[in-house]
Symmetry: C2
DNA sequence: CCTCCTCGTGGAATCGATTACATCGACTGG
DNA sequence: CCAGTCGATGTAATCGATTCCACGAGGAGG
């Protein structure tokens, strides 16, 4: 593959001049410029990004470490991150942690070794020493969706509190009183937060959340199935199950089906995170939708701010309730778009 | 960030020795080794992958350019590619082409500039000059799912012919006679092939495929909707629609719903590509399932073979029919696993 | 005891770019 | 007419690794 030296030789100039032309530095004669451009064309020369990065100490690459690519929420997030990054002149390397802290560390280390300019993370756990060190060492970093408390890093996320309140009000309005939740891992902020929001919303309706109605899931479908089976085995099973993410909702749906029961007649179902498929399930699933695309874009913008030396702001956007049929029929739709 | 020089200074040896320790070269004394390792530990040194790549001309990185990340089929493919690559010591940079040839070219160019060791592509179109040049120039390359005819590059894909035959037989057995297809772009091999397989399978049942029953889609949901509306407006609408991918099936489902019609009573529906959600749609959708994970792994293995100088084999795996309820109820399941 | 290998090590070239500094010619203004 | 300036260009250092080659010490064999 042709290098800058070959181009210089072909054009009859020095490598410095070639470099100047390529980075359109002002002081190059029109003559030299055309000769260089012609040589570039003739040789099919493309600058070696590796060499350039070594010299300039910039890779124009962002790392994105997410917890589960197969989760449509994160897929959409990844997509919007890549789009915004591309618009700003960056590439993205995605690392899939599969909800496993060891894999997450593997990816963070790998990305750091590759000298990415900045790191976007949705941490699976409370924070590996590796990531904390990186943050402390000054690696530009932004948390998206989930975060690690006590680390001085901007956080871009959705606030689901209002939407959860709307959801519980909706459920209460439909006459449901025994509400259960399939929680995410306590090690994640979203895992904890959603339970808390749910508990508070219940309290506002005068209901409480017994321990038996809190099932411990791990954001994967299988755990949703398992927890739901546990709920159904209770002496007094809940009337509604709220899954803290879409995959666990899927597992819950499976579990209900497997028993020959029906949603919402035998058990109502709602989920955090809305995805296109929820419109088409049987029945369509009531969900809390995050502004995923906007989250991804805001996260990239914050990260690029940091990279370029500016502070980089935390952003919190509201989620909103989308009512469908999985919690029971109600002629009056409670589709409030919360502020 | 500490460099190899800092480590050498700290350990009181030369950089050459440090490098030898790090690449466990045999001729290093035990004493030097421990001193170097201690220095590495003390400084928290991590080798700079950029510098290493420049020198060795290897990035241990594969590029994967897919047509649409939001399509669960490709998401799963990407995941299995990343897993297998990681197992073999490679990282993966994913480029999302969004079915747009210009974006595809952008990613290919970007990946080439970054000097990835090999390229995995599922081309959106018949082949940009850029990609053909890269292949001719000897960039290790493998096509996955889709390919470009006449290019000497291994192809890893699923053969759906047998499964399509099974599907048509199943539909014929249910009494359907007017079968239509929502085709993918003619520029893609999978787009063309699936139509051909469908036509042949129909012929085997003594049916033919009128032009009016071939709708031109682009593998995106919206096109499935549009084409299905066209079918429903026909004087003699089809009884079954076969969508050449899962997103177009989703669009078709939407279109049917929007008219207040029902699947399968008013229009039966089947799709190429099976995804977890098809179990949960209303009704569950009959689909042709590709061995996606195996495809991804085989593609990576073939690519790594090429990178390491060996030939690298093309692989074709069978797809299989998964019967659900979207084509009508039939007590006898035709769930044949084809050879 | 000398020669020859082997082993461990360091010096320095190298990969392909960017960029500070030096140089040189032409032009301008006093 | 000469000093000073400016624009275009080249030379060489540099980024952080790998690796070829040379060198010295020590052991084996004649």
């Amino acid at each position: 593959m042709a290098s800058i030296k070959d181009v210089a030789a072909e054009a009859g100039v020095s490598v410095a001049t070639v470099s100047r032309v390529l980075n359109d530095h002002p002081s190059v004669s029109a003559d030299a410029r055309t000769r260089v451009l012609a040589a570039v064309e003739a040789l099919g020369y493309r600058p070696n990004a590796v060499a350039r990065s070594l010299r300039t100490d910039q890779t124009h690459t962002l790392g994105l470490v997410i917890s589960d690519v197969l989760n449509p929420y994160f897929t959409e997030l990844a997509r919007s991150v890549e789009e915004e990054a591309r618009a700003l002149g960056y590439s993205v390397i995605i690392g899939n942690a599969d909800e496993r802290p060891d894999l997450q560390d593997h990816h963070v280390r790998n990305l750091l070794d590759r000298r990415i300019d900045g790191l976007l993370v949705s941490p699976t756990d409370g924070g590996s020493p590796l990531m904390l060190d990186a943050a402390r060492a000054g690696t530009p970093m932004v948390f998206v969706d989930r975060w690690i408390p006590g680390v001085d890093v901007p956080v871009v996320r959705a606030d689901g509190r209002a939407a959860v309140r709307d959801l519980v009000a909706h459920l209460h309005g439909l006459g449901h009183r025994r509400l259960a939740i399939i929680a995410g891992p306590a090690a994640t902020t979203t895992g904890r937060e959603r339970v808390e929001a749910f508990r508070e919303a219940l309290a506002a309706c005068g209901l409480d959340l017994p321990d038996a109605y809190i099932g411990q899931g791990d954001f994967q479908a299988e755990s949703g199935r398992r927890v739901t089976e546990g709920f159904l085995d209770l002496a007094e099973p809940p009337e509604v199950v709220f899954a803290a993410d879409n995959l666990m909702a899927l597992g819950a749906l499976d579990a209900v089906r497997a028993r020959g029961l029906r949603v919402p007649d035998d058990l109502a179902l709602a989920a955090f995170d809305d995805i296109p498929w929820f419109v088409h399930t049987d029945p369509p699933i009531t969900a809390i939708a995050q502004p995923t695309g906007e989250l991804g874009r805001a996260a990239v913008r914050a990260l690029v701010e940091r990279i370029e030396g500016r502070p980089g702001e935390s952003v919190t956007l509201p989620a909103r309730l989308v009512v469908r049929r999985s919690c029971g029929e109600n002629p009056t739709p409670v589709q409030r778009s919360t502020s």
